[in-house]
C-alpha cells in the first residue's frame, strides 16, 4: 500500500514539474558555443542560473569575430562561482552580474564587449 502511495506522489510531482517548466539543476561543466552556427538567440536573465558546476564558458563567433548574436534583453542575473574560464565575443551588457564571485577565474576575455565596469562594488580577490 505504502509503495502505491509514493509512486502516485511521484507521478503527481513529475506532472507538476513538467507543467511548470521547472527542470531542476543542470550538470553541465563546460559550454562552448559557436554562434555562427545558430540563428540569433535571446536568453533569459536566468539562463545560467542553475548551472552550479559550470567551469568553462566560451561564446564565440568563428566567422565574424566581434559579432555576437546572443542577446540578453533582461540582463544577466548570475554566473557560476566555479567559473575558471570565461570568454564572450561581443558580450552585450555593461557589466558582469553584480553577485558574480570571480575568485576561481583564471582567464577572462571579453573582446568587443560593451563592458564599462566589470563589477559593481568591491571585489575581494
Amino acid at each position: 500500500m505504502q509503495y502505491g502511495c509514493t509512486s502516485k506522489f511521484k507521478i503527481l510531482l513529475k506532472l507538476c514539474f513538467s507543467f511548470t517548466g521547472f527542470q531542476g539543476t543542470v550538470n553541465v561543466e563546460g559550454i562552448f558555443l559557436d554562434v555562427s552556427k545558430i540563428r540569433e538567440i535571446e536568453l533569459s536573465s536566468t539562463a545560467f542560473a542553475r548551472m552550479y558546476n559550470l567551469r568553462l564558458l566560451k561564446i564565440y563567433n568563428s566567422v565574424a569575430g566581434d559579432k555576437c548574436t546572443v542577446h540578453l534583453p533582461s540582463g544577466l542575473e548570475s554566473l557560476s562561482e566555479e567559473l575558471r574560464y570565461l570568454h564572450w565575443d561581443g558580450y552585450p551588457l555593461t557589466s558582469l552580474p553584480s553577485n558574480f564571485r570571480p575568485q576561481n577565474l583564471v582567464e577572462l576575455s571579453l573582446p568587443s564587449s560593451k563592458v564599462k565596469q566589470l563589477w559593481r562594488g568591491d571585489q575581494v580577490f
Binding site: 507538476c16 511548470t20 562552448f32 536568453l43 539562463a47
Partner: protein, 370 residues
C-alpha cells in the same frame, strides 16, 4: 665516417621516426604518379579513419617537398571548412607559394595576374582531410606543369571530383601490425616469446588499423600477464567489436578521474589550442594537468604538435560518445556541451521562473491535499 653517412642517407625518414609500413605505401603513390598525365598530377588518398591517410601524406611531403619550387601542407581542412576558413586558407596558401605577404583574393576565381605567376611554379601541395574541394579547384587548375597535388579524404566521392587516381590505403599486414603493436607494447620490434600468443590475439582485434594498434599497445605496455588476459577477455565479450569500442577500452583503462576529465575537456573544447593556455585553464580547474598530459601522450590519446594540443578525429568522436553515454543521452545531464544546436536547446529551456505560476500553485495544493 663516409659509410655512416651513406647508411644514414639510405635509412628513410619514416624508418627513423618509427612509422611502420609507410615506405611501401609511399612507393605505391609514386607508382600511381608515374601513370597519370604529366601536367598537374593529382592523387587522392582514401581510407577509413585511423588507417593512416594523414601520416602517409605527411611522410610523402617530408620526403619529396625539397624537389619542388614551392610546397605546402594544409591540415584538417574539414574542421577549417566548418569554421568557414577555407577562403582565408587558400589566400594564405597563395601568399606562401608566390612568396608575397598578405595576398588577398576574395572571390572563388583567381585573377589572371596571379594565375600567370602560379603557372610558372612547380609545387607540391597536400590538402588533408578534405570534404569540399571547391575552394581549391581553381587554384589547382592554375598550377604549373610538373606540380603534384595530394588530397586525403574519408569520402571517395569528394576525391573522384578532384583527382586523377585514387590510392586506397590498405590495412597493415600481419607483420607490420605486429611490429607497430610491439613498438608500443614492448618498446621493441617483436613481442617477447611469453607474450607472443596474447599479442597475436590483440592485433587480430585491431584488424590492421594503425590507430587502434597504437592505442591498444600503449595501454598494455608494462602490464602483467593477468592484466593482458582480463583486457583481452573484455574485448572478446563485445558482440560486434568496432574500432570505437577498442578505443573506448583505451579510455576506460585510464582509471583515474583526473586524466579522464582532462581527456574529455580536450576532446570537447581544447583541441587545437595552445598547450600553455590549456594547461593554465585545466590547472585552474584543480586538475593535475602535467601528469595527465604525460599519461595521455604515452597512451597515444593526444599529442602536441607546434605547441598545440591535438588528437585524432576518431578519438574525439569516441570521447563525444563517452560524454553522451555518461548522461544517458539526456542533454540536460550532459557534463560538456559543444554542439551549437544542443547548447541552444539547453540555454533556451533552462527556465527557473515558472511558466504558469497559477497551475503550479494549484498542483502544489493538490499534492498537499493528497
Amino acid at each position: 665516417m663516409q659509410t655512416i653517412w651513406k647508411r644514414l642517407n639510405r635509412a628513410s625518414p619514416s624508418k627513423l621516426r618509427g612509422l611502420v609500413g609507410v615506405d611501401s605505401r609511399i612507393e605505391k603513390i609514386n607508382r600511381l604518379l608515374s601513370i597519370v598525365p604529366l601536367d598537374v598530377r593529382k592523387i587522392g588518398i582514401w581510407g577509413m579513419g585511423g588507417i593512416g591517410k594523414t601520416t602517409i601524406a605527411g611522410a610523402f611531403y617530408d620526403s619529396f617537398s625539397s624537389q619542388y619550387e614551392g610546397h605546402h601542407f594544409l591540415p584538417n581542412l574539414r574542421k577549417e571548412s566548418e569554421n568557414g576558413r577555407l577562403n582565408d586558407l587558400r589566400d594564405e596558401l597563395l601568399s606562401k607559394l608566390l612568396e608575397e605577404e598578405n595576398l588577398r583574393v576574395d572571390t572563388l576565381h583567381i585573377p589572371t595576374f596571379i594565375r600567370d605567376r602560379l603557372r610558372q611554379k612547380k609545387v607540391l601541395l597536400v590538402l588533408d582531410d578534405v570534404n569540399d574541394a571547391q575552394q581549391f579547384q581553381h587554384l589547382i587548375k592554375a598550377l604549373g606543369a610538373g606540380s603534384v597535388v595530394v588530397v586525403t579524404s574519408r569520402d571517395r566521392q569528394v576525391l573522384k571530383n578532384v583527382v586523377d587516381e585514387i590510392y586506397e590505403v590498405e590495412e597493415l599486414n600481419f607483420h607490420e601490425a605486429l611490429q607497430l603493436f610491439s613498438l608500443k607494447a614492448f618498446k621493441g620490434n617483436h613481442p617477447p616469446k611469453a607474450y607472443m600468443e596474447l599479442s597475436i590475439k590483440a592485433i587480430n582485434y585491431a584488424k590492421g588499423n594503425p590507430l587502434a594498434l597504437q592505442v591498444l599497445g600503449s595501454f598494455l605496455f608494462d602490464k602483467g600477464r593477468h592484466f593482458w588476459e582480463s583486457i583481452l577477455n573484455e574485448i572478446e565479450s563485445f558482440p560486434e567489436l568496432n574500432i570505437y569500442d577498442l578505443l573506448g577500452i583505451g579510455f576506460d583503462a585510464l582509471r583515474d578521474h583526473n586524466t579522464k576529465s582532462i581527456f574529455l575537456d580536450i576532446a570537447c573544447f581544447f583541441r587545437g589550442h595552445q598547450v600553455d593556455f590549456v594547461k593554465r585553464i585545466l590547472d585552474g580547474c584543480g586538475f593535475k594537468t602535467d601528469s595527465g598530459f604525460s599519461v595521455l601522450i604515452d597512451r597515444c590519446l593526444i599529442k602536441f604538435s607546434d605547441d598545440k594540443v591535438e588528437m585524432h578525429d576518431l578519438l574525439q568522436e569516441m570521447a563525444h560518445e563517452v560524454v553522451r553515454k555518461e548522461s544517458a543521452y539526456q542533454l540536460r545531464k550532459q557534463s560538456r556541451l559543444w554542439n551549437p544546436k544542443d547548447v541552444y536547446r539547453v540555454l533556451t529551456n533552462n527556465l527557473v521562473r515558472f511558466k504558469y505560476p497559477k497551475v503550479f500553485s494549484l498542483l502544489c495544493n493538490a499534492i498537499w491535499l493528497y
